[in-house]
Symmetry: C2
Subunit: 255 residues, 2 copies
């Protein structure tokens, strides 16, 4: 089976399928496109039934999937409230000591504009034959909080059916939102490995820390809804002032 056939199969798997999945996909797209912005309430289950000519159980199945993936929160008596525009993946992200870092205080510096190249010789993850054969899209950027560099990020993407990526992607926008909007490419999962390492020269320079001072190194492999397309990142983090943090599980703070 060649590559084109594989792609067609994937599209079929995504687009045909069952009634509740079709509704789920439609609602997800509409949430992403701000038809239902964050904080708004989806049409009631009965309205969705009437509009799509489906039974309530089927509608509830679609909404249930949206809920478990973190897009909406359902509230008895009220409705389904849009919570987030992306599946909660539980990435590590920067936190202050109490609250999350204010997004308005974050800035992005370009280190390496997007370009097509070959894969690094000593790449940190195993690549499939398909990925090896494709060109490697590479870019690098530094994230800063209040002007202080906190993260140096190198990204590697196999150029598989991502037309005009280099021309279209600008470093100061959200990478994941760009992929979702332009290519309907959604990140569905991730693996990562974390080390504490002594900062090598190029890292010390970009993060403005002393040579050999302790920094976090994170290797990430992102999985997507295209089964042969994975994204790769190497992150170096300066945790002197801001820690990396995350939250997992259902936190029950009732009473």
């Amino acid at each position: 089976m060649n590559f084109v056939a594989l792609l067609y199969e994937q599209v079929n798997r995504m687009e045909s399928s069952t009634q509740y999945q079709l509704l789920y996909l439609r609602l997800k797209k509409e949430i992403l496109a701000d038809v239902y912005p964050i904080g708004s309430i989806l049409p009631s289950e009965n309205d969705l039934c009437a509009a799509a000519n489906l039974s309530r159980s089927t509608v509830r199945q679609a909404l249930g999937q949206l809920e478990t993936e973190g897009y909406i929160i359902k509230q008895k008596g009220k409705g389904s409230i849009v919570k987030s525009k992306s599946r909660s993946l539980n990435l590590l992200s920067f936190h202050g000591f109490s609250a999350m870092v204010d997004k308005t205080k974050m800035s992005t510096l370009s280190v390496q504009e997007p370009s097509y190249s070959s894969w690094p010789e000593d790449f940190h993850f195993e690549l499939s034959e398909l990925e090896k054969a494709a060109a490697c899209i590479h870019f690098a950027r530094v994230r800063a909080v209040e002007g202080r560099p906190v993260m140096y990020e190198l990204t590697f993407v196999p150029n598989l059916n991502l037309p005009n990526f280099v021309r279209r992607f600008k470093l100061n926008q959200s990478f994941f939102e760009f992929l979702a909007k332009e290519y309907q490419l959604e990140i569905t999962g991730m693996e990562q490995q974390i080390w504490a390492v002594a900062a090598p020269p190029f890292v010390a320079q970009h993060l403005r820390v002393e040579l050999n001072s302790p920094v976090l190194k994170i290797n990430r492999k992102y999985h997507s809804n295209r089964s042969h397309l994975n994204l790769y990142s190497i992150l170096y983090c300066n945790t002197e002032k801001y820690a990396l943090g995350n939250t997992s599980g259902v936190i029950n703070q009732s009473i």
Copy 2:
């Protein structure tokens, strides 16, 4: 409302409730008690219907919750296979470069046996009044892989309705499994913060690394099914040979 009243309310919330939740709780307990060991198959949906005198939709709701919490995997045509004895929390855990570290090669060294004490003065998480008023159960241990220390773990637990903890808990057993079995205390969520720091003397000693070499420091707050009881850990990790890693999201590796 006093503490005892709160406890009663919690027990009521857990034990009364709905049909599918009762079945869910019963099956979860039986999985934990090895009535259905890992890898085994639960009774079929129809069998569960007949045994509990419930409709299939209700049974499926209970199984669905077990599935989303990571206890079972459902397979069309086969059945519900027991996958894990605890909710998958997506903690960071040690990995080798390719496969997970062999559990038989892990050992635990005692650094500080469990004892009752007061809370540290400069504790890393905000404590509630209830927690502050309780005594602090503290212990510390070092985890080693192939004789090489990789993690130094300090644990702090408020002594709230955990009778005879110090006498009953042995450091070489799983802390979470002990809590589930002895006190029906389940970990439901977690927050963590991560830094790369220069190893201070006591850490360098326990992890057998050079003073000021880079190590991971992780502060964790575990949430439990008792809404006023949280567990706290400080971890120091030597990542020279083994990285910390995790996986999140649904990984779709079909085709």
